[in-house]
Symmetry: C2
Subunit: 209 residues, 2 copies
């Protein structure tokens, strides 16, 4: 049975219990008074690998978790926007960079934390400038050889950047889909705490470059 | 300002207000007593286009919305599973069919209803049988020419099946990514109420067939 994450009913303020509703295989948070079911679903994190003149844009995080470590611009998708629009929004918020999305690049599920990363290839767009947004200490373009892999914030971002550099070097782009299997409770950036499973790596041809 | 969807605080039972927290560009549900922010995020619907001997598996819905109309097996992704595993689970629940997932096929965002469809290509697996699950009135294999496009439950499924048949006929598979722009409040299956926008159609080569 999952732990109680919702103590009171959103609809009537009654107390909540964790039960298996009839016909449902899952445990749900159900209101003892009005029967409202408070579903918890996985959330999407959307972001961009931004390339400019052969370099990749990274942000040094100004907030926890992983303050001081580097990541690509990414964050939770909002209701009312598309995943690509959300990735562009996060890139502007975190790096003050305007970008053009070229294609989806990866879909990584992380079941243990209930997240899916939907990441895009993008290129820096006019006016080709960037600077730190409120959640970043620093924003910089990195040569592939200079990416600080020992200071990357999240397992999903390490995995993305490693595949991106391989694709970039070979000139054969892929659409990556896979599952990041993490040790529950592990630190977000512990390289020994995760592995990539069920990896589909599909060579793609892009019409819009 | 969005309408109030959460009247009471999940954490303390206090009353909720819709405000813009400092540093946030979005309106949020915030507790007047303890400050808890109740975020609403888009949800993922996961499913499979299941092919067997050149035919496609469809389910006639036994539940609303769109009871009596046809769809592919799909449903909300659960925390703790991957999108592909969720698609397999839904296929078993709705069609009692075991499948092998071949690759991701499409990602469709539907911003107006806060959903993203993550759909997979799959083939029927041993024991190659199927029957109606509790949410289906009927399950059947359709020849491409016999798919009942005037009786398909959801815009996302019509769009998926049309692209799938094109790819199947040409032998060139694609990874599709796009945005389904719906008229707010329109019926789920009104063909005049939606259009596909920002469609990236990436030719793919599959190594795992």
């Amino acid at each position: 049975m999952p732990r109680l994450q919702s103590k009171f009913c959103r609809m009537c303020g009654g107390s909540m219990a964790i039960i298996q509703p009839e016909g449902d295989k899952e445990w749900r948070h159900v209101c003892n008074s009005c029967g409202y079911i408070d579903y918890f679903n996985p959330r999407m994190v959307v972001g961009c690998v931004v390339e400019h003149e052969g370099k990749i844009l990274l942000c040094k995080r100004a907030i926890e978790p992983c303050r001081g470590l580097w990541t690509i611009p990414a964050g939770f998708m909002e209701i009312g926007e598309s995943s690509a629009a959300g990735a562009e929004r996060e890139t502007y918020e975190e790096a003050h960079a305007r970008v053009q999305v070229l294609s989806q690049y990866a879909h990584w599920d992380i079941p243990v934390i209930g997240q899916a990363y939907i990441l895009f290839r993008a290129k820096l767009a006019s006016p080709f400038t960037f600077s730190s947004g409120p959640e970043s200490l620093e924003v910089a373009l990195f040569d592939p050889a200079s990416i600080p892999f020992d200071q990357i914030a999240f397992s999903s971002i390490s995995i993305t950047l490693r595949h991106y550099l391989q694709d970039m070097a070979s000139g054969q782009w892929h659409l990556h889909h896979g599952v990041i299997d993490k040790v529950p409770g592990a630190a977000p950036n512990d390289p020994a705490s995760f592995q990539l499973k069920d990896h589909f790596s599909m060579p793609v041809t892009l019409s819009q470059q």
